[in-house]
Symmetry: C2
Subunit: 167 residues, 2 copies
Amino acid sequence: MSQEESLGKVDVSSTPAQRFEEFLQLRGMRMTEQRRLLLDHVFRRHEHFDVEELLDQLPRRNQPGYVSRPTVYRTLSEFVDAGLLRKFELDGRAVYEHDYGYPAHDHFYCEKSGKLIEFQNDELVELIRQIAAQHDFQVTGHRLIIHGISREGREQHPRRKRRQDMV
Amino acid sequence: MSQEESLGKVDVSSTPAQRFEEFLQLRGMRMTEQRRLLLDHVFRRHEHFDVEELLDQLPRRNQPGYVSRPTVYRTLSEFVDAGLLRKFELDGRAVYEHDYGYPAHDHFYCEKSGKLIEFQNDELVELIRQIAAQHDFQVTGHRLIIHGISREGREQHPRRKRRQDMV
DNA sequence: ATCATTGCAAAAGATTTGCAAGGTC
DNA sequence: GACCTTGCAAATCTTTTGCAATGAT
């Protein structure tokens, strides 16, 4: 894990919207209603989501506030490039989570409930740094998902559709 | 990481073929030429592969030893269920690696060369166990990929096509 | 006015499925 | 012979792209 990743992401001086404005400015891109709408929606609550979930929560075609699927994909991609969101994969689809202004963390993935549960552990971060150093590997980031069953999951929950398990 | 995962996977008494036979037997499934062929091919060398790479290495249609794409997918899935292979995701596609008879490990992913590099670290395994215990989480496995640039990668390599980076 | 952005339709990439023909026990 | 498997074609799912119309600066 790099310095960039472990530090300087929590104490930010600007909002996601402000940071995205700068990002657009710098690249000669424009602030549009769709980008504003997605920005608002995505940073309204702190939770993981995939594109399907996001689209389900947004207005349908021909409704005010509608954003097309391609634009959602394009905009999420921009948010990732702008450092606002992180993207990773779970069960064959992309999952997004807040990055900007949010502390680095890892996840448990409950195979019963299908939920992602965050945790932070400094020892882990340090150990990963050490292991990489031992192997002369320059780290830009890492992704750890611990699979299993959460306490909550032990109380039986259905889980969302998925392809074959990957661990 | 469970006991099952960290122990008892290395010192095995039977070959992948034997284990797969048992698996088939138990489920009333049959040993076919295609399954035998894939078994041989996949366990011939220890390396990571995706379906495309595997298909590239196998005989083409109308050649002896040809296995169709659907059968390759179906059979790899069986190998995973039989505990012979592990499956995970990288850049939007499934990657397979040996599981049966092979020690648990984690990976560096070099973003320059596109290569997966294995490493083993007992401290890491133990720490993950501890963290899970602290959170009352029953672990069945984990997946850690450390992204960055390997020493080798620093000497400039092209890398395979991919979707947007996920870390 | 210029040039970025959007939505639509279609394409692309990965994986899965229905089904008739063929193979295994 | 019973029924599991295969290959083909087609479907599915997720994501991306070409392009004409629209919108932002």
